[in-house]
Symmetry: C2
Amino acid sequence: MTAAAGFEAAGVAVGLKSSGNRDVAVVVNRGPLKAGAAVFTSNRAKANPILWSQQAIGDGVVEAVVLNSGGANCFTGGFGFQTTHQTAEKAAELLGVSAGDVIVCSTGLIGEGGEEFRAKVLDGVVQGVAALSADGGVAASEAIMTTDSKAKRAVAARDGWTIGGMAKGAGMLAPGLATMLVVITTDAVVDAAGLDTALRRATRLSFDRLDSDGCMSTNDQVTLLASGASGIAPDLDEFAMALTEVCGDLAQQLQADAEGASHDIAIQVVHAASDDEAVEVGRSVARNNLFKAAIFGGDPNWGRVLAAIGTTGASFDPYDVDVSFNGVRVCTAGGPDRPRDEVDLTPRATHILIDLKTGDAEATILTNDLTHDYVHENSAYSS
Amino acid sequence: MTAAAGFEAAGVAVGLKSSGNRDVAVVVNRGPLKAGAAVFTSNRAKANPILWSQQAIGDGVVEAVVLNSGGANCFTGGFGFQTTHQTAEKAAELLGVSAGDVIVCSTGLIGEGGEEFRAKVLDGVVQGVAALSADGGVAASEAIMTTDSKAKRAVAARDGWTIGGMAKGAGMLAPGLATMLVVITTDAVVDAAGLDTALRRATRLSFDRLDSDGCMSTNDQVTLLASGASGIAPDLDEFAMALTEVCGDLAQQLQADAEGASHDIAIQVVHAASDDEAVEVGRSVARNNLFKAAIFGGDPNWGRVLAAIGTTGASFDPYDVDVSFNGVRVCTAGGPDRPRDEVDLTPRATHILIDLKTGDAEATILTNDLTHDYVHENSAYSS
């Protein structure tokens, strides 16, 4: 977060988490450029901070981002929206900027966000602004954790400029778009339109292809801030590639920390008619509970893969599809090939290769298996 | 199955199941009418018996149905299709009818169906035809069980005519359409076109609204046979209503026996803009793993319900939706209402009421919770 020049950050503890851990983060852009772009959950049920931030990002100027864990401030009515508004106002007042240039992000339980929540968040803004520092990135990344077992950060350094990012997310990991809270900073000189283009390109190839449990969040947001402090204006393609690297790194960290998972599954779909069809096929398999449970059980059940592909509208012949599990082709042309017992599914890293034999496009979807621990954590923990 | 006059059935054991239980069923229509209709999985990855039966049903004449458990004969290549073909030929030869009027249904593991499978199924046809009797319906319903804990049968008797049916299914319960094997018989006088109309109407309101685990099968089929043996030609609407009653009864039995489930959840969506939108909303909630795990954990997590609704294209205002769990309205107008702890989720029967406040349409989707046992059964058992 503070790897890029021109940014300060802080993470403080104000009692939103019963654990006493850090729960409010503040990230401030000290400029000279104050450009920003953001992408939001495509869930139509949007939390108050999403409704606020969609307005705030409109002019491409972002001075600061305030994030809290311990409460999603979603479906909390007019009172909840006022809480978000007051959060931005408080930060703006302390920083001497306009409230309309302050992005707000929240994560935690839906439907909770009363007087006590508001008081703590506003307290967090005061304490967070007071604690801002050029090496506050680690503390900020800790403050946005919910059921995450570890903080998630990534950096891509180029010749004279840098992109840094932090993310949180361990459940409700399915796109619309983002499905997590992410803040990315850069000291490169890129205007708001360029940031927007690069961010959409990067998220489409990273967070949009992470689908841990098929459940789309109400609060997801990826925000990208540019300070221009390096004085270097890179080529936009080069910038987008570096940004995709950071987003891909964070997406893999989210997958690796998914609630209750015992396998990180990469579903690579090749020879599809288009990128969109490759994604559709990969996502359909990623969302198939029977397939996900089979991976947990060490069973290379290619029949469940074909059954999932069959529910899509993609171009393919069900009787001309190959499927490999961890390098062993168990299905050729829609029929049995190598024996199932040649497949070793004990490693956490799992690779499924689906050859549609239709075109030249490909995509890889990241997902997780369906485990006892997933059921346990999501039946015992309210989110 | 044999509650309606004019039908004989049998269920025999030929070693397809390692348990030694019955595994091949034969149902024969003795007439005088030989009308039939069928609906099939909409999964594009279709098993060999589906490919065969879609052709066989074309002329609206069905003499017999042969069903086997212990192997889906799906993705077993040309050899597998020949197995299905030979199954119909063998039954036709023994019964003195045309092979094109014999429907074949299979259920069990995908990708298995070699020489041994073929020999056993053909043996089952021989033994089954020899064992046909007017009270063989119970044995037939036992022969199609896979992980089902009990056989599933239903009857609707009207003035002088009767509809009887049997079903199997405990996993991969999600529509396309049917998601199970079902055979229904009637002694009413209804021609093939009438049967088709009534069957589509009935399945749309019953099996199509059962979505236990979101996973669509490759082998599902619902077949309806009319013998006309009662000599009574009922009004088609009256017939369709009785048929819907039988299908609804069987669908509830399938839900109640879903693998590993601890709750039978009825998601009732009211005041939707259309039937289709009510179904779309109900299905989206039914497929949300976080919602399903919450029900298992006894948590009336209405936030997860709203998050699932938000992924649909249905007409509604996220901030004007009410949600009740077992009669307690925990969410009003997209905000908290009654405290969560007023909801008792200990009974197996669970009722979710979603009021979209948009139109006059409604639909109820049946589903189950996501439990440790579901993960266990589907990670340990290959299907």
